[in-house]
Point group: C2
Chain length 210, copies 2
Amino acid sequence: MKVPSVAERVAEELRYQLAEGFLVPGAKLTEATIAEDLGVSRNTVREAFAELAGERLLLRQPNKGVFVATLEAGDIHDVYTVRRAIEVSSIRTGGSPERIGAVRAAVEEGKRAAAANDNEGLGSANQHFHGAIVALAESNRLNTIMAQILAEMRLYFHKATMNAHFYSDWLKENEQICSALEAGELERAGDLLLAYLNRSEQQQSAIHGE
Amino acid sequence: MKVPSVAERVAEELRYQLAEGFLVPGAKLTEATIAEDLGVSRNTVREAFAELAGERLLLRQPNKGVFVATLEAGDIHDVYTVRRAIEVSSIRTGGSPERIGAVRAAVEEGKRAAAANDNEGLGSANQHFHGAIVALAESNRLNTIMAQILAEMRLYFHKATMNAHFYSDWLKENEQICSALEAGELERAGDLLLAYLNRSEQQQSAIHGE
DNA sequence: TTCGCCGGATTGTTCAACGATCCAGCGATC
DNA sequence: GATCGCTGGATCGTTGAACAATCCGGCGAA
């Protein structure tokens, strides 16, 4: 029976287009255009913009317009700093068996995607994996923070910048991390995860502007 | 020369009133009333509401209105889970001498407030202390997350719930943490900070609903 | 007492308008 | 030929009014 508000649906549609890469970083979004395209009022678009700007997906420049967020110098390090903080902290809490099961499920999802040569599926499986790790901490706030970070990464590090062998390493590593977690070796799981995040940051830095 | 937008100023005014306790948790904010009080349009108020709702300071209930956020069951644990993740992680990065100096400055600020019996000052000094710790990591995103968490805590754990001896313990502890940080004993500093956060959570849980 | 309906109040959304601000282009000046 | 300043058009920021949808409290009927 619940019907999300129009503004919410507009935000959702924009989020989708951002994740799919239909809107590339730096692109300008004109209020009137979006309003007309989606058959909605300019004020409503405005509200959606405010929401997405709060999530750092859009950048609002007063009197100039809103633009799809672009990667500034230091942003990569910034994002990974947040991930190190919340992912490592979360995995070290251990988590309930159900939550650990969700992590395992994400690992298996990745294996299936790899077997099917589904590059797209590999990406989302990896995101599910890291989302499941944060979920171990049972904190709504951490979960939403992580969801925003993952949305940012989908935007910045889009399919174009992702090649297949990029994921292949992760699979083995995710498996190791998950095994350590299941075995209760929280210290080791945290160390493995931290090492992965550090290496991933290096790779991304090397690919992008550096 | 930069003039923040009207919506931004409205949001700022509401943030102030929330921090000062003029607006208590659970209170209803009627769009028309706020608009008239601040001499601003209803649409503008709406935009400010959206922003504050994104910061979890206000809760939006569709077709019912916006209310000052209230502490739900599990929220205390949730907030402290976030703090443990980002504060401990930040302090373990060490940080530049300038940033460490900022932490030291916050400690001294607390001492002065204690000497002057300035209860109000003690509270903000403590917030500066923890903000400075997060700033060690040099991450804009972590800083804004922490700022939001601190705003939430100002709202929930307001002066009324704070008594003087609540702070007195912290002073010595902050001093110890800061000393360990200055000495480069990052592990110990992190452990001390973690212990403090755990104890603080227990205290708050005991005071509130439990 | 409980149920259901009604009216007032508030929200969700749209629309039209106007001043403020920015930007590109163009001409004038050095 | 390059720089400066102006002008016009486009877009944003904000307002005010309007109307449907929804919620809430109260009142009457079963």
